[in-house]
Amino acid sequence: MKSKELLNAIGEIREDWIDDAHASVRHYRRFPLIAAAILLCMTLTVSALAAADVQGVYEVLYTVSPAIAQKLKPVQMSCVDNGIELTVISADVEGDAARVFVGLRDLEGDRVDGTCDLYDSYDINLPSDTIGTCSFSHFDEETRTAMFLVEISRGDGKSIKGDKLTFSLHEFLSGSIEYYDDVDLDLTQVEMNPETRTLQDGETRGGSASDGFDPHTITEVLVQQKNLLQPIDHVIVTGMGYVDDLLHIQIHYENRSENDGHGYISLKDETGQEYFGLGNISFWDEAGTGSYDELVFDISPEKLAECKPFGYFKSADSIHHGDWEITFPLE
């Protein structure tokens, strides 16, 4: 394979994603300003994470981005809340962006693992809106420490000034499971006349669609039938049936705000042709904590009989809360 084949193949991606990418302007995340630097947790200490512990990670970081790794300056300050230690290992400020290399370690149990996700809950106190991303992560098995390179920049493009910064974290996910494979879903169980109900005002969480299909036209959804398949924890396929000649597949994500469950199902025929849904509508479950995605496919029963389902799902096992905050000097 050559890179030009990849470039050509990218040219044939879904048209709604092409449209969406250039229609989207300034879809950046805004963090609330920290009103006051109140230290809620913890005793700031010199980190127990020894320099030797992170040396191997630096080497990995060097291979990813030597320019960034070289600029990071040691900080080695920690705080503890909820039995979990957050360490700012090193940091760097350049123009409007700050890079903070942090480590997370559970001092009491095994809540920190190789699948940890900071869940967009980190921040740096800056006098403007900020934009953040976690561009690198690594888990050190020996010290059971998850490390992240977080980059946060000012939304107004101005330079970051001052002689110290405060980094804070409020929650993280762990125990994430990812599934990406054929799914053992029996398509002969698709109901031709399923029981449905009409979505009520305020029930809908949102939707997405391709090829000009408006997801908000999906107003009739399946009444939850039964647990047809549980590909991973917190994710259950709860219904399949034809509604107004369109195939509906319903997936339930338990306690979605706590475990960030997401995914999709597609259908593959014998030639390998893959069919994605026209779109999906999301709506809250009865408890108001989990939610359903109802995927809609324009595929006939005859064609469906030639297809096998394929799925991608991801969900975290638990979310951990705390008030971790470290103010550290900038060299």
Partner: protein
């Protein structure tokens, strides 16, 4: 005029379809062509060819998203022109850079003469994109579909350039993993 009406003009073989397309999506197609060719004169020629291609393909096509459909035509025509120009040692734009970056998704020891099935490869990339977060997908599409420069993407999303670069690096690694997982580099 809305897109459905413009498409109807094509189907009715009304030449005003081209004028309406040009008025509504001329700048959009020109941006795509300029990104690829880096040359205003060539880009103008591409947009003219784009309207002709649209005229010749609608009907039988009835695009659901006219903007993306015309954009695809402009991209394909631009890349064809870029390849011709590149063979003559001219041309420019972001294509060379993007090709170098995408080469990172292909292992050094893979068989570069072995061609992938284009249709299956597109499906793999669709699956890869479906698994990304919304912002990641948008940034990837801006870079490798629109061939936007890193600085343009950084301005569009209000990200620093270093952030865009590291995001793209991470996405290329993930795409490489997916291609490996789906057997694109298995030995024959």
């Amino acid at each position: 005029m809305n897109d459905t009406e413009i498409v109807s003009l094509y189907w009715a073989r009304s030449e005003s379809a081209i004028a309406e397309s040009k008025a509504k999506y001329g700048a959009y197609c020109l941006t795509i062509a300029r990104n690829i060719l880096g040359n205003a004169q060539d880009a103008d020629e591409v947009t003219a060819d784009t309207w002709l291609a649209a005229w010749n393909s609608i009907p039988p096509h009835r695009p659901a998203i006219l903007r993306s459909y015309l954009g695809k035509l402009a991209r394909n025509i631009s890349l064809k022109k870029w390849r011709e120009g590149h063979a003559l040692k001219r041309g420019g734009g972001e294509v060379s850079l993007a090709l170098d970056e995408l080469a990172e998704c292909i292992p050094d020891d893979s068989d570069t003469e072995r061609e992938a099935d284009a249709r299956l490869l597109s499906q793999t990339i669709n699956r890869f994109l479906a698994g990304l977060k919304e912002t990641e997908r948008r940034v990837f599409v801006c870079r490798y579909w629109y061939l936007d420069s890193v600085s343009e993407i950084s301005a569009r999303f209000d990200f620093s350039e270093s952030k865009v670069k590291s995001m793209l690096l991470r996405l290329r690694k993930r795409l490489k993993s997916q291609l490996e997982r789906e057997g694109y580099f298995d030995e024959e």
